[in-house]
Symmetry: C2
């Protein structure tokens, strides 16, 4: 049988892992697929750079078209990152009938639909398991494992950087800025951490997961996003006292075809399996009407975990190739996108207020909740002898977001409230 | 397109769930597969029995051959359980070119090879996702998700009954017999609980998982099995004090092609994700050389979770049918089975001894460990003023099983040791 030839775009961390696995597991891969898999050309930025693995220098090129246009290459493995150029390369490769394996969540979140449409016209596979939650095969699980079920909720810890920061803040009572600095020194956070800490990276991943889970084309701008940069060590201390951990959760929900997707720091009850996912690990919790609660846990990034998912996709392309069914096992959205309005999005909230420490304050506050039909699970008041301001901690029962927003709006104009210190969604 | 016709063997708990999903999700399933799926005939034990779902009585039959031999039926969904008759039905159906979806771990653990061989000769699919860990798509994950990796360890909480019992013993400090009785009353344990509590059910599931994970044909008699009936509340109390939970773990390990599979009550460190899997939930922890640590958590049994997996397999059969590739996506073992000998199986142990409370005892005991090269992580001695016997609690470092067995053998003849009270494998 003719070997399957691969063109690799990028030889950074993940690309290096891909080479390691494809070369190191050659015999296993041949058993698994029935084919020999050969890396034919590799696009690099600098031809002469020293590499941590032995690579045949003749295979390296700085010209993307030498890879994309190579007549013998069957599959393009895109692990270079970036969006605009990368999209052009991927679309051009599809036009030449080459299958795509990509680890690029930005590309798939922004241009997934266009890419999948082009793939379908050219009979090509496009697989992107590594784009969400690194080594966890969550995309396959949504497409194949839960094909029979109706998924109503997907909650994900899908960004390792923020989970590292929040876990560390929780374990050590440390402040956000200090832990971020440490994470940058350790290489867990980028010099410009915006995309991670402001929740954009997680939002892109939730776009992909919710599209697959709910079969409707969710787009990045459908996702409401709030990052972790305002999470204080006091918030975390309170949450722990009350039996919660603060996690940056992507939450995608669907009821009767109406969908809401958001990313925000969330207080997760300690009995919930997501609460104990710490450090750079990722986890995706999936609730299906029939299956109930499930959770998938593993490394969210890193050279070898991500490469595992990339090469698993490559194995799938080769298996499809040998069955002559490339481009025919697709998971396209078949449902109309209907987004929930704020009055359809329902959850519990934690609210921390700084108020005047005087009689009647609590009564004024609870009246506002009552006015908008938001009922309360618990109310705690902390007074501090050295401070004329008191703290009130409220956990609501399930309430719709529209009503909650009205409550918070009215709080802004309530003179006894000095400050709405923090508001968190509560889960579990 | 012609509808796909299904013959259902069994209309008990899982069968009822399958009917609910196939009929309730008809439109989604059609989008997912491109076909209408119709249940054509259902084998029941008693035609006239009342059912919890509306079923067309004309579809029911007490004659298996009316289902298996039905000329229009494409797929047999086997959810009747049992082994000998069931095997005959499944093999006969395969001979008639019908694909098989089964939830039957006993059948697959005992006759999986024979069934897969017959399926391959007749170009049929055989899928059995529901046979292990109910609603968790772990079989797909091993076959597809980790196709590129080398799995070195699979640890599973794959029996809900025993996990319920051990979780309850741990949470309440209750005795085994009392919790077993309660589990029987609640329907979580059978009247004859042997298969669950003695680890046989878990062993069958580990046979399936290790065969898929290590690509070698592991058989039931390759699995060393010990159940939970000797776990005492004292053992659990000690394990908790030391930071462990006792779980019935299936453990399958592979190093350099040598495999060991066992099922035994195991002390799992509280920081390990398996330690917090409680009640009837199941979880499978998979360690791959490249991916590292992953864990998959969900319901291990129950009508709807199990039916979710069965119907997901049915979707896979129909997708394959429409791509004309039935019988061509198989995962057959391609490696020679090589089992580890006792000196290749290495782990930490917890040992609880009752000894004479006198000087020099500890020295005699530690000399035996030293003689066989077993080094110790910790040794604790508890004396009790009202008791002339003392307790010694030992946790070893990693040691091979052959050496450990020699130590325990010598302990039996050591006069200062009154009793080897308990021995547990330690993980995490």
């Amino acid at each position: 049988m003719k070997p399957i030839k691969v063109g690799l775009l990028g030889l950074g961390t993940v690309g290096t892992g891909v080479v390691r696995i494809v070369e190191g597991h050659q015999e296993d891969l041949q058993w698994q697929t029935g084919s020999i898999i050969e890396i034919e050309r590799i696009l690099v930025q600098d031809h002469s750079k020293e590499r941590s693995i032995p690579v045949d220098i003749d295979k390296l090129t700085e010209d993307p078209w030498e890879v994309i246009g190579h007549p013998e290459i069957d599959v393009i493995v895109e692990v270079m990152g970036g969006v605009e150029h990368t999209k052009d390369y991927v679309l051009a490769a599809l036009e030449k009938g080459k299958h795509i394996v990509t680890a690029n969540k930005d590309l798939m979140a922004l241009y997934g639909r266009e890419i999948m449409e082009k793939a379908s016209r050219h009979g090509c596979d496009v697989f992107y398991e590594a784009s969400v939650a690194g080594g966890i095969p969550i995309i396959r699980t949504l497409i194949e494992g839960f094909s029979s079920d109706r998924i109503t909720k997907i909650m994900g810890i899908v960004n390792g950087t923020t989970n590292y920061i929040l876990s560390k803040m929780s374990a050590e009572g440390a402040a956000y800025e200090d832990v971020l600095k440490e994470a940058q020194q350790l290489g867990y956070a980028e010099a410009d951490p915006t995309s991670d800490v402001e929740g954009l990276d997680a939002a892109r991943k939730m776009t992909i997961l919710s599209t697959l889970g709910f079969h409707a084309g969710i787009e990045l701008f459908d996702v409401k996003v709030k990052g972790i940069s305002e999470v204080t060590k006091e918030d975390i201390a309170y949450s722990k006292q009350l039996g919660y951990e603060v996690k940056l959760l992507g939450i995608a929900e669907q009821q009767e075809g109406y969908i809401a997707v958001s990313v925000q720091p969330t207080m997760v009850k300690k009995s919930h399996p997501l609460s104990s996912v710490n450090g750079v690990f990722n986890a995706v919790y999936v609730y299906g009407e029939a299956v109930g609660e499930t959770m998938f846990f593993g490394p969210g990034a890193g050279e070898m975990p991500t490469a595992t998912s990339v090469v698993a996709d490559l194995v799938a392309v080769v298996r499809n190739h040998n069955l002559n069914i490339n481009g025919r096992r697709t998971a396209s959205p078949y449902k109309e996108k209907k987004l929930k309005t704020d009055d359809q999005i329902v959850y519990k909230s934690f609210i921390l207020l700084h108020v005047d420490d005087e009689a009647g304050v609590l009564s004024q506050i609870t009246q506002v909740f009552a006015k908008y039909g938001v009922s309360l699970e618990s109310v705690l008041q902390h007074s501090n002898p050295s401070n004329p301001k008191a703290e009130i901690i409220i956990i609501t029962h399930d309430a719709d977001q529209a009503s909650l927003n009205k409550v918070l709006k009215e709080f802004e104009n309530l003179s006894v409230i000095e400050e709405i210190k923090s508001v968190y969604r509560v889960e579990g």
